[in-house]
Amino acid sequence: MTTENEEKIFELIANGNGIEEGFSLLMQLYKRPLYWHIRRLVVCHEDVEDVMQEAFINIFRHIDKFKRESSLKTWIYRIATNQALTHCAKRELSTESYNEKSRLVELFRAEAEVDHQTTEALLQAAILSLPEKQRVTFNLRYYDEMSYDEIAAVTQSSVTTLKTNYHYAQSRIKEYITKKMEA
């Protein structure tokens, strides 16, 4: 389902002279949510800026070919997620299996400006220990409050797989935080 703003963006972009205005509106709508989505995946603030630039430029390059088979929001999130994961792979930050000592957790401890024992900090460390697919699913569901159908459009996965991923992610996070709180 498209929102009024998305319709306005499409109208402006369809009119050849309004492409920059349409893109500016798109940025106003998505710059903050995408910043945080990418930040949760790549952790480092400086890297977020590079990934954001690349993601938005890719969005701009391909927006005239967007077929509207999915919502603009999930399409934008898909580009941003792929860009962020590519960045993580290049920096060897990706994790395929549960790893409490992943480089992402180390990066987070260096970047976070709070006591590492607060629940929010423990939650982040727990999320960053998760395998990549569980991490992306959990973030989109928990922080971006997307439906499973929307997450399926972003990650190109089945809803069943996503529900399993989310379930495992929740269990691991609970286990991680409970263990840290007890220590």
Binding site: E20, Q28, Y35, I57, R61, T118, L123, Q124, E182
Partner: protein
């Protein structure tokens, strides 16, 4: 064991919130990049337009040239001019073999006297 509940924690990220200025600068930089990307497209569109106008103008010129060339060399014109030339020659030949009295008789029957002007005695 202390039970952990997701609902008990906020969704606030444990990072410093970037300022409004940061987001504005980010937007400005990306829009600048996007405009830079648009420039070659615009140049290419302009070149495409110039090329199309030149092609149309050249086609028109060629069309006009072919039209005039054809008119000058149409078979009907060529035949007309040949027929007219041969006819003149055969009339001259015919008149050369006529006696003065025959020419005068012929001229008397013809409305256009001028054609006999040079040969009438």
């Amino acid at each position: 064991m202390k039970d952990f509940n997701f609902e008990s924690i906020t969704r606030k990220m444990p990072y410093k919130e970037p300022s409004e200025e940061y987001f504005n600068n980010l937007e400005h930089n990306i829009l600048h990049e996007v405009k830079e990307l648009q420039l070659p497209k615009r140049r290419s569109a302009k070149m495409h337009y110039i090329f199309m106008v030149s092609a149309v103008a050249a086609s028109l010129l060629i069309g006009v040239f072919i039209l005039f060339d054809n008119r000058l060399n149409t078979p009907s014109c060529a035949i007309e001019s040949l027929v007219s030339h041969d006819l003149d020659e055969s009339i001259d030949l015919y008149l050369e073999h006529l006696s003065d009295s025959d020419i005068q008789a012929l001229a008397a029957e013809t409305a256009d006297q001028d054609i006999f002007y040079s040969i009438l005695p």
